[in-house]
Structure formats: C-alpha cells, structure tokens
Amino acid sequence: MSAVTLNNFSKSYGKMSVLSGIDLTINSGEFIALVGPSGCGKSTLLRMIAGLEEITGGNIEIGDRTVTDLAPKDRNIAMVFQSYALYPHLSVRSNMGFSLKLRKVATEKITSAINSASTMLGLDQLLERLPKALSGGQRQRVAMGRAIVRRPDVFLFDEPLSNLDAKLRVQMRSEIKSLHQDIKTTSIYVTHDQIEAMTMADRIVVMNKGNIEQAGAPLDIYDRPESKFVAGFIGSPAMNFFTAEYKPNGSDGFININDECTIPLPKLRTLQQGTVECGIRPEHLSLSKEKKTGHSIKVTVDVVEPTGLATIVYLSFGDQKICFYTSDRPDIGPGDTVYLQLSENKLHLFDVNTGKRLN
C-alpha cells in the first residue's frame, strides 16, 4: 500500500498538449476514479502512471520513491486492461503466474500466490483453461487475478468493465469494490461511466480537456459541482440547464426565468447582476396540474418514460427542454400542460462565460 503523488504532471505530443499541470495526491489505500468524456486525457494519465506513456513534464512518486524515470516493471504497479490483455497461448494459471515467473520467484511461492488469488476470485475450477474458453466475466476475473498475485503497490484499471454486458458490469462493479475493501490496495480506476465512478470510488477526479475539473467525494461532487461541466457530466439523467437573469434585491437577489417565474436567492459571491446559467437536477423538480403560488413554470409534456422504478418525463417551455425525474407514477401524457416547481435551495448557478460555480 502506497500513496501516489503527481506533481505538475504533463504530457504533450509535439505542440499539442494532452495533459497540463496535473497535481493530485492519492492516499494510501484509496480507491480513486478518473472520469471524463473520451479524449479528456484520463487514459493517458493512467498510462503515464503505469510508465507505458512517456512523461513530458513533472514527476510522480509512489510511496516514498520517485518513479518518474523508472520502467513499468520497476514501479511495482499492476494494470487491468479494457481488453483484459490475457496471453492467449497461456492457461489461466500461467497467465496469473507470468510476472512472478519472469521475476524468478520460487515455484511453490508462485503456486500458493495463484491459489490464494484464484480462491478469492472464484477461479479454482478454471486454472487449466485457456482464455478463449472463458466467458467475458471470467476473463475479467483472470485479469484481476493476474494483478493481485503481484501484490503491487498500486492497481491501475483502464475501463475494465466496458467490454461486459450491462448486467455483468453491475455484478463486477460490486466485486471489484468488495475486493478493494478486502485487500485495500491503492487503486486508480479510469472510466467514462459516471455511475461506475460514483458507486465504486472513495474519491472522484473529473477530468476535461487535459485538466482536473474537480476532485472530491462522490456525493460532494454530485451535490456541489464546481463547474457546469462537472454538473452536466455527473448524474443520470443529466442536470437541466437554462439561462436566467440575476438581479440584486436589497441584501438578497432573485433570478428571472421568464415573465411568470421569479425565484429569490441569497446574494452571489462574485456577480452583481446579469445573465447566469441555472442548473437543477431532474429529481429536484416537482409537477402539479394547477398553478401554484410562488415560482411555477407552465410547461408542455413531450415524452413520458416509465422505467418501473421511476418515471422520467421530458418537458418543454418555449424552446427550452427540461427533464423531470420522479419515483411516483404521475398521471400525465404527451401534450398535457402542467406546472413545474423548482426547489430553490437545489439550484446551481454558473457563470455563462467561464462555467464556474457562482452560488
């Protein structure tokens, strides 16, 4: 178990900068998820930590060693690939023992390491099989087994679940999480799936365009996104955004969404008055058939999606689309006119230009 520290970590291909000045400390035993849209640099960052990708600037420490210039094998890390990267010509046992064999570990030690890992992962019956004779989930487990037998300082996961079907993905998600709770090895997990990040990680690092947008505990990020990007990326169905006018009113302020709807708000930190980007999560809205006092917006129902567990309703007012999420089963249909209420203490306000949080 070791902490990982990245100092001013950067990567560029020629003049094109992929990662710029990443500073991040991952505590010993922590499970951290790097999440972001494709092309945000999260995989590159992971591969740089692994040593598979050259580091253009900055340095990295694992435990108390600076490993910036060390080869991957000397960093004492293990990696689980998206494609699993199992050696197709070797049995499960040989796949798992490959690294120990290369390190000339005694045969008995290799056997016992393989056996304990395979018991932990439920692979005992499959040890003599070739990877081609395994299902996707089993291959995934072997890939993890191969990482575990090494007893590395850090586990690196590169989108390990994206080749699995939806059901298996949910199952493996909890298996990886419980495995981490057992062995408590520092883990860095790259995913583009924000649900995976939310459910598994102790801390989420949201990345965008080669920068860290926000790092924090999953629910902190969900409840207080520091930028419009994070607000829109984390959460499914995604947060609703619309523009409104913010005006001061004595010691407080208010926003005007349209002529009918005005919402009072506490004073903003940086903005006196002007256009702001409002965000509100679909579950922080409510619907009524009658106009209620206060801040109701008259909207039209476009589509109703019942999922059983919940109902997702797509609404519109003007050319603005709104998504509404409820665990009830509202008695409405397409074309109905209803009234939408916003919980004012759940409103997120962002700067229209920088996208930074205002309230």
């Binding site: 692994a50 040593g51 598979l52 080869a71 991957p72 094998k73 890390i77 293990a78 990696m79 690939f81 494609s83 990267a85 050696y87 197709p88 010509h89 490959f98 690294s99 290369l102 390190r103 070739l130 990877p131 081609k132 191969r146 090494r150």
Partner: protein, 320 residues
C-alpha cells in the same frame, strides 16, 4: 459420389410419415447438392491438376525418350532401380536438402528480422515496406542473371571484396567451383525470398494486440522475453504455414540454379528439381525424369504431413 449418397444418407424413419424411398431421394439430393455447385471447379481441377499428375506419374513406369522414339512402352520399376545407382541423383538429393533448408533458414531469419524492424513505427515506413517487396517482384530469370554476374570477378567487385576479407583465397567465380557452386544460387534465393517472409510475418505481427506487450512490460518482461514468450508463440502458426509453403516452393524451384550454374560444374550444384529439368528437356528422357519427380513428390508429401501435424498442435495450444 452417387453410391456414397445412396448408402450413407441420413435415414429418418418415423413409420408414419411418407415412405422411406422419398426420404432417400431427398437426402441424396441434399448430399449431392454441394458437389453440384462445386462441379465446375472440380472439373477444372481434374483437367489441369489430377489428369496431368496421373499421366506424369505413369511416365515414371514407361520408356519415353524423344531421342529414342522406337524404344517405348511400359518398363515397370526399371527407372526406380536405375535411380539407386545414379550418382548424380544422390548428389542432387543431398544438394536439394542443402539448397532447400539453407535458403529457407536464411530467408526465415532475415525475413523475421526485417519484419520486426518494419513493425516499428518510423518515418517513411510505408515507403520502405513497399521497397522491401521489390526483389520478390523481379523476374527470377533476371535476378539469376544478375547474381551470376555479381559472382563474376571480371565485372563484379564482390569476389574481390571477398578475397580482400580473406573469405576467398583469390578473386574467382565461386559458381565455377564444384565445392561452392551451390552457394551462389542460395545467396540469390535468400535475396529473392526475404520479402515474402518479411511481409507475411509482418502481417502476423500486426495481428498481435499491442495490449499484450504492454501487459508483459508491466509484468516485467524484457524485450527478449517479450519476443520469446509472446511474439514467437503467437506467431508460431503463421511461421509453420509459411515455412511449409516455402519449403515446397524452394524444393521445386529450379530457375535460379538453371540460370546461374545450370546444375554445374559437372552436376555439382544439381538439385532434384534442376535434375528433373535437365533430364527431361536436355536429355529428353521423360520417363526417367518422371521417376525422379515421383521421388521428390513423395518426399514433399511426407514433409507436408509432418508439418501440418505440427501446425495443428500449435493451433490447439494458441488462443486462435
């Protein structure tokens, strides 16, 4: 075809539904159908492959000398018995092994080396890949003449260089040396055959996922270990099949020898293939040439059977 269909068709008997005769008719139709579709190809194959092969094999048991047209007819195993005491045949057999495995081994080693180099990313790689194929595109007749000249000390510096390096005592034409003559065509053949190995092995290399090498690097494999533990085992099936194909081609390949040494001096560089050629088209003794060809065919069939067995094992052990 028809007999096997009528006797071994799947018999479905339920006792209630239509009488068995219709079943038999239907199953015959079903069994014959693929052969019907294949028949144009099969007939063509029979016409251009099987028929000439049978006729050619039958020559081995006949006297067919164009210079002696009145002494024709079946002679049984006479030619095969004559082979046993034919000094040139045994020399050619030995030369065939030297020629085949000498060329093959060097082509393979250099071809694999070249494939590994070309599989690296570097500027101008596409161009180099195309250029590498050139020797393969030059007509063998021309390459043979070229190489014959390159070994000629009157017009080529190569023998002089070899002498200067102390490899030769003096700059002379090795093609005229009974001890060394076979080396000339082997060198030409290696030059000619490297591209084939390089290109096929490169295709094989490119089919190995990059992830495996990254996983191996993290597992602690050195470059050499990556080569021996990942590249070679995953390339083995393709290596086996290219080696097999090339062996057969090289063993049958007489052009370079005929052009460069014509089997000489004094038959010293004769291989079975060039011996067949000169027996048939210079001595015009087709019967004897066919007997020699039959022996070569048998040897190649045995070799192919061995290698196919090996390949099957390799495929079973690999992930493909």
């Amino acid at each position: 075809m028809s007999s096997s269909a009528s006797t071994s068709g799947p018999v479905i008997s339920s006792g209630l539904t239509p009488p068995p005769t219709t079943h038999r008719k239907r199953s015959f139709k079903r069994l014959a159908e693929p052969y019907f579709y294949l028949s144009p190809a099969l007939m063509l194959l029979a016409l251009v492959m099987i028929l000439p092969l049978v006729v050619g094999l039958s020559y081995a048991y006949q006297n067919i000398e164009l210079l002696n047209p009145f002494d024709r007819g079946w002679v049984g195993f006479k030619h095969f018995i004559a082979l046993e005491s034919d000094r040139v045949f045994w020399l050619a057999l030995k030369n065939t092994f030297v020629w085949t495995f000498g060329s093959l081994g060097l082509q393979f080693i250099f071809g694999l080396g070249l494939a590994l180099l070309l599989n690296q990313a570097f500027y101008g790689r596409k161009l180099i890949q195309a250029l590498v194929l050139l020797p393969w595109a030059v007509p063998t007749f021309l390459s043979g003449l070229n190489w014959a000249w390159l070994f000629n000390p009157v017009i080529s510096p190569i023998p002089h260089w070899l002498a200067a390096l102390g490899i030769l005592n003096e700059p002379y034409n090795i093609l005229a040396d009974p001890e060394l003559a076979i080396i000339g065509p082997i060198v030409a053949n290696v030059w000619f055959g490297i591209p084939f190995f390089a290109i096929t092995l490169m295709a094989g290399l490119q089919s190995i996922p990059k992830d495996l090498y990254e996983a191996a690097v993290i597992d602690g494999a050195t470059l050499w270990q990556q080569f021996t533990r990942i590249t070679l085992p995953l390339l083995a099936p393709i290596i086996a099949i290219t080696l097999l194909l090339r062996t057969v081609w090289i063993a049958n390949f007489a052009d370079l020898i005929v052009v460069m040494t014509n089997g000489g001096p004094a038959n010293s560089s004769q291989t079975i293939a060039s011996y067949i050629f000169s027996t048939a088209y210079k001595k015009l003794d087709f019967g004897y040439a066919s007997a020699v060809a039959t022996v070569l065919l048998l040897l190649l069939i045995i070799y192919a059977a061995l290698l196919f067995g090996m390949r099957k094992k390799l495929l079973e052990n690999s992930g493909n």
